[in-house]
């Protein structure tokens, strides 16, 4: 068969299957990311079917997927929200960072993956999935709750931390010398500060350049700008993803809302490709050996997120039940853990088992996180009920 024909058929099969997986995820009310990963595992090397014909396309598509994921992350919060979040909740953010990076670092050293592996694993266990969490909070009707702004503030800070973490990761993965690494990090931190300040004051200029009444040209300009910025950032060794992220922050106001709407379907398409490719490149046979470690890591890093949320909510004077809700809401990990693992695996600087561990870990956390958020309340009530027998409040409304 003609190679193009074969690629088309294979690509069709992949997207068609992903469509069904996405539908299934929607039905049972979970994020499609773990199912995409499973889909990738099933298609990939050593999996059920072999798809060799689409590797070139899948590779560039998944690169674009990462860029779009980060661009949309930047669009999610305005520069003002980022600065306010940093000012008001930096202590909670710091606790979040320390508590949740430690489990990743510990596991990496226990498995003998060295400092580079530790840096990667730290990022994987640190980053909560803002996509999953925002959706869960909305679905559970918790947007009016007092602890919700606390949870969102922590997500905002994680977002900002990403902007510092990704350039460091890129530099370390590229094996840059200590001095070179410092320079890269210095450059990127300076650029991030400049973009944040610039976006606060001159964000409307970027928005005006990109804004267009016509949906089609708006989309093309946005995508073009994102790829250009990402490409230049990559050439400066600052990481393509960070470039796109900063562009997202710089776009402000109504333009940002429109951009989110226009880019969403594209992001869904290319990000799905990214998750599948990650699954494709993970050999399913490497998963069983890391299953135990992944489970242990899941338990520990769920606990550390609960402590983070509990502490942050308590500081805002929120009662026990709200503290528990805040903690459980933060558990879910997802797309960004895979983005970090993807960058690491692509660089070849970490062992292959890391991909297997990251996949398994995200599979567990993306499924367990929303379940925990939902059932933490009845669970805590049960405990409280035991303590104060017979005082169960009857009034709900």
């Amino acid at each position: 068969m003609d190679p193009t024909t074969l690629s088309l058929i294979q690509l069709g099969v992949v997207f068609f299957a992903l469509g069904f997986l996405g539908r299934l995820a929607g039905r049972i009310g979970m994020s499609p990311v773990p199912l995409y990963l499973l889909g990738g595992l099933a298609f990939g090397h050593g999996g059920l079917v072999d798809l060799g014909g689409i590797n070139d396309f899948a590779h560039i598509a998944s690169e674009i997927g990462v860029i779009l994921l980060l661009l949309m992350l930047g669009l999610e919060y305005t520069a003002h929200e980022l600065v306010t979040g940093l000012r008001q909740s930096w202590m909670a953010g710091l606790l979040d960072l320390v508590l949740n990076m430690v489990p990743g670092i510990a596991v990496a050293f226990m498995l003998g993956w060295g400092p580079v592996g530790a840096l990667v694993m730290a990022g994987i266990t640190y980053s909560s999935s803002s996509g999953i969490i925002a959706k869960v909070l909305g679905d559970l009707g918790r947007l009016g709750n007092r602890e919700t702004p606390v949870v969102l503030a922590i997500l905002v800070i994680e977002d900002l931390a990403m902007a510092a973490y990704l350039p460091i990761l890129t530099a370390v993965l590229a094996g840059v010398s200590f001095l070179g690494g410092l320079t890269t990090v210095g450059i990127s931190l300076a650029v991030i500060s400049a973009v944040l300040l610039g976006a606060l004051r001159y964000g409307h200029i970027v928005s005006n350049v990109l804004e267009s009444p016509d949906r089609e040209s708006f989309l093309l300009k946005l995508l073009g700008a994102a790829l250009l910025v990402a490409g230049f950032a990559s050439a400066l060794q600052v990481s393509a993803a960070v470039g796109a992220f900063l562009l997202g922050i710089a776009i402000s106001g109504g333009t940002a809302t429109n951009a989110t709407r226009v880019l969403e379907p594209l992001r869904d398409l290319f990000a799905a490709m990214f998750f599948v490719l990650f699954g494709l490149n993970t050999d399913p046979r490497t998963i069983p050996p890391v299953l135990g470690v992944a489970l242990a890591l899941a338990v520990v890093s769920a606990a550390t997120k609960v402590v983070t949320g509990w502490w942050a909510a308590r500081r805002q004077g929120i009662a026990t039940l709200g503290q528990a809700r805040a903690g459980a809401a933060l558990i879910a990990r997802g797309e960004f853990s895979i983005v970090i693992a993807g960058l690491a695996v692509a660089s070849g600087a970490v062992p292959k088992e890391l991909a297997a561990l990251a996949t398994t870990y995200v599979l567990i956390m993306a499924v367990f996180g929303p379940v925990a958020a939902r059932y933490v309340e009845p669970l805590v009530r049960l405990f409280q009920g035991k303590k104060s027998r017979g005082k169960e409040p009857e009034i709900i409304f």
Binding site: V156, G322, I396
Partner: protein, 161 residues
């Protein structure tokens, strides 16, 4: 009244009022414009007993119901001194004779002696409407007059084609 405003990064903004009973009632406005009505629980004031998504029309209707009650209360208070005069609000229902016609066509003052002091349309208040003001389905017509005059006015405005 103190309205507390809390930004919800990535989602929108929450505005709420603390009631005398201690409950919180408020509105979450999402970035894409849709709104949610929220009400806190009694046993757990941090949480919500209800969060009800509202369309733009529903939110406007609810707003005018609450807002008009306040306007009526204010009008009644002002007319407390005048004995025998009350305030009424009458809804222009679909199929009403006067839907889509100017206010003057009702000949309200000539026929009943009452005065139309305001129209409430969505979240808009049209004060002291002129005779050429068009009535629309869904308008709340605020009328001041004697009890008997108001009863006649209601009959006129609720008459059907």
């Amino acid at each position: 009244m103190n309205i507390e405003e809390t930004p919800l990064p990535g989602i929108g903004v929450r505005r709420e009022v603390q009631l005398a009973t201690g409950r919180r009632v408020g509105v979450v406005t999402h970035r894409d414009g849709h709104t949610e009505l929220i009400l806190s629980r009694v046993d757990d004031p941090d949480a919500c007993a209800a969060s009800i998504p509202l369309s733009a029309e529903e939110a406007a209707a609810l707003g005018s119901l609450l807002g008009s009650a306040q306007l009526i209360a204010q009008l009644s208070k002002e007319q407390k001194d005048v004995a025998g005069v009350t305030t009424h609000q009458i809804l222009i229902r679909p199929g009403s004779t006067y839907a889509g016609r100017p206010l003057g066509d009702t000949q309200m003052r000539t026929l009943t002696g009452t005065s139309i002091v305001a129209l409430l349309r969505g979240d808009e208040v049209i004060g002291s409407p002129r005779p050429d003001q068009l009535l629309e389905v869904g308008d709340l017509v605020v009328i001041v007059g004697t009890e008997s005059g108001l009863a006649e006015a209601a009959q006129i405005l609720q008459s059907r084609l």
